[in-house]
Symmetry: C2
Subunit: 335 residues, 2 copies
Amino acid sequence: MSHLDFYANKSVLITGGLGFIGSNLAQRLVDLDARVTLVDSLIPAYGGNLFNIAGYEERLRVNIADVRDPYSMRALVQGQDVLFNLAGQVSHLDSMEDPFTDLEINARSQLSILEACRHENPAIKIVYAGTRQQYGKPRYLPLDEDHIQAPTDVNGVNKMAGEWYHIVYHNAYDLAATSLRLTNTYGPRQLVKHKRQGFIGWFVRLAVRGETIQLYGDGSQLRDLCYVDDVVDAFLRAGASAETNGQVYNLGGPEPVSLLELSRLIIEIAGRGRVELVPWPPARKRIDIGDVYSSYARAEQALGWRPTTPLRAGLERMIEYYERYGEYYWGASKD
Amino acid sequence: MSHLDFYANKSVLITGGLGFIGSNLAQRLVDLDARVTLVDSLIPAYGGNLFNIAGYEERLRVNIADVRDPYSMRALVQGQDVLFNLAGQVSHLDSMEDPFTDLEINARSQLSILEACRHENPAIKIVYAGTRQQYGKPRYLPLDEDHIQAPTDVNGVNKMAGEWYHIVYHNAYDLAATSLRLTNTYGPRQLVKHKRQGFIGWFVRLAVRGETIQLYGDGSQLRDLCYVDDVVDAFLRAGASAETNGQVYNLGGPEPVSLLELSRLIIEIAGRGRVELVPWPPARKRIDIGDVYSSYARAEQALGWRPTTPLRAGLERMIEYYERYGEYYWGASKD
């Protein structure tokens, strides 16, 4: 049985289900005949967007709730076969301005979700969205799962705690939990209404709207980018595999690319926009982590997963999406 | 100037100041002519004990408050030169039974203490009490600071988060924070009223009261033990050193010792008690981490610190203390 067949008639809960990765995952699962319930709080500054499930509204269930609400989560995990646990506060900047909200969502809520599963549905399979940010500034490249965790902001600390609660609940209570440490994910349905949740969506927004992408320094910093369909495939594989229980896996992208190359490629595909190199603001330079990209060798070994979408093809699909549906994503904010 | 001279006329705040390490540190600081304020909530199951400062009551200030109270902490950090940040929930078992309390004390309160320092007293020096438990089951021995962090219980996850908030606040805001990752600390004033906070105090209690120390398996598991005066000296050194800002250091003990050797030594010194080997309860065996001990090479390099108290000498002093003052420590509970 392939990992795709696994989901037919399975009940699947996705926290953060109206967000970028959650909604792409949800559509895929619906197409695989899963019974899908999305949990999302639609906090305005976050990535949840009802347009993300356009055309699928009748084929899945949307439950508006906040993962910080332990009672709702206790009710929602019941009867589910798989939980894709994607809800999170993902802005590094916001985590420094409001560290307690970040802690509530990324740490405390994870504990309460795990407590809910342990008490209400101990047989559930859980796949958590970790982040390569847990590693902090690389000591060597590519980052592997044995790299020391030394997060550089409050968001990284709380994501690290959130992941480790999952592993502890596996080791102590046999909860079937797995963590995928995501790198930079990009693609349709990504938040682009502000730039506090990562650079790729923002770069695409600027290019599609004919504006200027500013890069710090010479733009030579390397990053790896993983197309959202590949990330979705990794979640599906992990969710269908009992061997991954209690384990953590990096995702990664095809060859790393510099921010300058990436910007030029986005501008070329969009046919609009321009790139400008500006000096590093001292406050940013000091928290810069230099080049960073991950090894996905362990995921390939355990899950048979690898990123299959070339960067150009992924960006073409993403840019086409925002050219067509941008009005549902730009939002009021331009900050 | 030695690290001891540094403290004359300095204002020093100790969270968890009525606890085991905090009270030993407080007495030393008073003797060094520091102006010492202790913060402690005297939660009954925890280690705070007014008898721990017997004879010093008039030479320091005790402020009963909970580190979970952000308003008290904002007021208390003002005007302090050094904060020894020792308050914590330290029971692994309690952290699994009540993970949210552990999170509130060991993670959320640390964030609010750091926010208090950042806003009210950005020049304060902070030394945090981390734990070797952050490493989880050793992949190699001795544990060094580059060992991967893979905590095995909720307490370990939250202590890891609490430590990393300190490092993040150093890197982002220049707060002068240092973490010491403690191993098994032992000595006078340690909690012995129940066994949920570590084995050494419990073993000493059993021996002094002529009872039986039960060991799982063959008792061959190795541990390192560090006498509290040595731990106090490490805190004093770290608190007086600007070079340690943003860094983490293991403490460690003299040669590792097996639990069986340790038990026999305690019984020999006490002249009472006995040891019994019992089969591993399956629930304990599964969370057992085997041998564990730390390298303190980095602390020795940076701080000139090493444990100087031989195990026998430390145990003699500890046992003498409980033979004399045990009535203030046994408590009602025998669990």
